[in-house]
């Protein structure tokens, strides 16, 4: 169905080709998963399928890409719209109309289908994707998971034989991700659609894949094969595979179910041990002594007449990493906004080091609290990394070189004259964090920091956060990433509808939750083990 023959892609200003001599054949009806580090060329590979690379992005493509027998050399993307459905990273950015039903019809209108055909297909697609209740909802009012499903539906109405998705679940909370994946499953199994998708969150998708393609990047040949084959040697693996490697299971388990069936021996072995404290974050030692760094006391916040935060009370102490979890729209970002002084609470009291953050002038604010927003790029304005660091020093009123020194610790390999926009997601996050830390705030907040991060960048982020806590900062992060929470958080706060519904040590809160438990906890339940590193450490200790 999709065939790459000796394909290389090189963009004008890049020193090395992004894709190098790729040979790949994806047969009809397969669900094929593309994995690899950030910058390894996953997006380029996906966008080459319908000719966006190079027709739209520029650059030179050598070799041949054919889809359903059509060569992308002779067919620009619009001529392939009836065979390839392409859903980008941010589905909302591709919406042309403003109502669900019209969005579903838009592609068909462009293809010039007859009105009765369009009507029938819209109805079929609404049912197929479970969107019937949303048919005349404005697109702007949909949740992230609904938006993703609408974006899939909008390309599906053209009846493409292949569907290409770039990180379809990375912005979604666990339940919404399940919804989207269920839809993809159904398309592959019932309709025989060929699906090609790239995803960093392997733990969510690898079990559904028929084939995994690993792009190592840097001109190394790609590796393609059955999931078990590729996962056995791939450097990027989900926790469940890593656990399999630690425990010496072969073939590696791909799903929690596989792992649980293999894990009875391991569970028996671990039942006799107690989980070690996670490296360096001080879990287990009481951190609630001393005055809290930040307190919310019965705080409520609202946008217009929508209450986003209802009577929330929370204390955050020095040296503590607190994870905020909950579905999209549960009030996590609003809580962070209150602590960062961006949202004024309508009732109740918010204090950071005794001050009300929304009353502070910006120059004082940076010394009390640092927030890395959802899109770290928002914080960056300068043309080069060095200029950004210098500006951060001036903004915070600290000696020149402070921010650059912080950045050197977080991100040693980045040159000083790189443009911030040319950094990878992980590098940009590190730069934003360095900028925020320049003011030495006692409270550091992160909003959804792992979006678009690969496993390597995530491990580095986890180490950084633990180091911050060890240095005596308080860290609060809002995230959907259960694996990151398991790695770093001492305490987990679960929110729903603007209220706190659970608050306690991470192990207690997440192990019992079906949505928020990390894979290792699910495999080893009811034992309170959270991460592969803990298990590895305990097994080593036990000899």
């Amino acid at each position: 169905m999709i065939r790459f023959e000796g394909v290389s892609v090189r963009y004008p200003d890049s020193p090395a080709p992004t894709l190098h001599r790729v040979d790949l054949h994806i047969p009809e009806g397969e669900l094929c998963l593309v994995v690899g580090r950030t910058g390894s060329g996953k997006s380029t590979l996906l966008r080459a399928v319908n000719g966006l690379v190079p027709h739209f992005t520029g650059g030179t493509l050598t070799g041949r890409v054919t889809v359903a027998g059509r060569d992308t050399r002779d067919h620009p993307p619009r001529e392939l719209a009836d065979v390839v459905g392409m859903v980008g990273q941010d589905p909302a950015a591709g919406f042309v109309t403003d109502v669900v039903e019209e969005e579903l019809a838009y592609g068909m209108e462009s293809l010039g289908l007859a009105a009765p055909v369009m009507r029938r297909r819209v109805e079929e697609t609404l049912d197929l994707l479970g969107l019937a209740d949303l048919r005349d909802r404005p697109l702007a009012t949909l949740s992230a998971g609904q938006r993703q499903r609408v974006a899939i539906g909008a390309v599906l109405t053209a009846h493409p034989r292949t569907l290409v998705l770039d990180e379809p679940t990375s912005a979604l909370d666990p339940p919404a991700a399940e919804e989207v994946l269920a839809v993809l499953q159904r398309l592959v199994h019932d309709l025989g659609v060929t699906v090609l998708l790239a995803e960093h969150r392997l733990e969510r998708v690898v079990q559904y894949a028929d084939r995994v393609v690993h792009l190592p990047g840097g001109g190394v040949r790609l590796q393609a094969g059955s999931p078990a084959e590729v996962m056995a040697s791939c450097p990027v693996v989900p926790p469940v595979v890593a656990l399999g490697r630690v425990a010496g299971w072969s073939p590696p388990p791909l799903s929690v179910r596989d792992a649980r069936r293999a894990a009875s021996g391991l569970r028996a072995q671990l039942a006799r041990l107690s989980p070690p404290a996670r490296a360096g974050n001080g879990a287990g030692r009481p951190v609630t002594s001393g005055p809290p760094v930040a307190t919310l006391n019965g705080a409520s916040a609202a946008y217009g007449d929508v209450v986003a935060l209802r009577d929330v009370s929370l204390r955050v102490h020095q040296g503590e990493v607190v994870a905020l979890m909950g579905r999209n729209g549960a009030g996590k970002s609003t809580l962070l906004g209150c602590l960062a002084g961006l949202v004024r609470p309508v009732r109740g009291d918010v204090r950071v080091r005794g001050q009300q953050p929304h009353r502070l002038r910006p120059a004082q604010l940076v010394r009390h609290v640092g927030l890395v927003p959802h899109d770290p790029g928002d914080l960056l304005y300068a043309d080069t990394v060095a200029a950004e660091c210098a500006a951060a020093d001036r903004d915070a009123g600290v000696p020149a070189g402070t921010c650059a020194a912080l950045l050197a610790e977080l991100l040693p390999e980045v040159g000083a004259d790189v443009h911030p926009r040319d950094l990878s997601e992980g590098q940009r996050l590190a730069l934003a964090l360095a900028v925020v830390l320049a003011g030495r705030p006692p409270l550091v907040l992160l909003d959804e920091p792992t979006r678009g991060l690969d496993y390597g960048a995530k491990a580095r982020l986890a180490a950084t956060l633990r180091q911050l806590a060890a240095d005596g900062r308080a860290v609060v992060l809002a995230t959907h990433d259960v694996e990151l929470v398991a790695e770093v958080a001492d305490r987990t706060v679960v929110m729903a509808e603007g209220e706190i519904v659970a608050d306690g040590p991470t192990a207690e809160v997440v192990v019992s939750s079906p949505a928020f438990a990390p894979q290792v906890a699910k495999v080893l339940a009811p034992l309170p083990w959270l991460t592969v590193a803990q298990v590895a450490l305990a097994l080593e200790g036990a000899g």
């Binding site: 950015a93 591709g94 929508v306 999209n328 729209g329 906004g337 961006l342």
Partner: protein, 381 residues
Amino acid sequence: MSIRPWVAPRPLHPGAWWLWALGLATAAGRTTNPLLLLLVVAVAGYVVAARRTAAPWARAYGAFLKLALTVLAIRVVFHVLLGAPTTGTVLVTLPALDLPSWAAGVRLGGPVTAEALAAAAYEGLRLATVLVCIGAANALANPKRLLRCLPAALYEVSVAVVVAMSLAPQLLADVQRVRAARRLRGRPDRGVRGLRGVAMPVLEGALERSLELAAAMDSRGYGRSAQLPRRVRRTTAALTVGGLFGVAAGVYGLLDAGSPPLLGLPLLGGGALLAAAGLALGGRRTVRTRYRPDPWAAPEWLVSASGLLAAATVVLSAALGVGGLDPSTSPLGWPVLPVLPTLGVLTALAPAVLAPRQQPPRPPLAAASRKAEPATVGAGR
């Protein structure tokens, strides 16, 4: 609302709402009777309340109402301060400013008479009412569906407008986000310097987003076109350009008093015909079809007819010299409602009952609107 619709809920053709509103506006334009004007405002307001949707543009009525009140206030204030001296019942005497002799016709301050005040208020109210009618059309008709009624040859233009309209609110959200981010960096988020720092990231973001949108539209088949023979393309171009020339010359002929009157109208009409033919021929280039085009059926006829009837009665009454359309302000008398125009304007209430409900009622968008107000960094998404 307890009024039961007589047909199943569906969005009405936007053209019908515009005809209805323009009818009401025409009626308002022909009278200065404050009672009649207030009646028009009330009729428009009632229909909007009964038939508007939850869509964002439905709030246009409130916005236009505020604009109308502002216009009215400005008109009255200016008249009080600057109006020509009048005689009549003096309500209050403002301190007058002596102006040099060359500005003898103008007065600043001085006595304010009830008659002058009433005249200014009536005039202002007329303009305000016309604005309110336009606001009602904006609130009731989906602007995007209106654009979809454009001829196929103008499809690209209408898409550009639609995209621009959906980008505007996002731009606003971006400004809020970037301002919040500046505050987080410890920089001023207000003032001229703050503004400059905000503009660049917002523009960059908008540019990136439009590229992404263009890629998505391309992948979904936007811009596919049929190959037309060269002869047809040339004919299209000739027709359109010739037609536009004709229209331009015709308008000049109409407006220029010196040119022969016969030059104007025929040229204008002929030019318009040619241009229309060009557009129709050009439309053959696009292969696209339309999903569920808005039908023009009985409700559309009724709605537009009710508005046009309101206009017709008022215009007709004015032509026949029916009294009460322009109540006297000097001497000042209590205005009365003229019977025929009042009945005419009241018929424009019909859509509140006869038009189908625009949308099936649905649960409030509580969870949804939470997404729409990114006052914080990273809210939304």
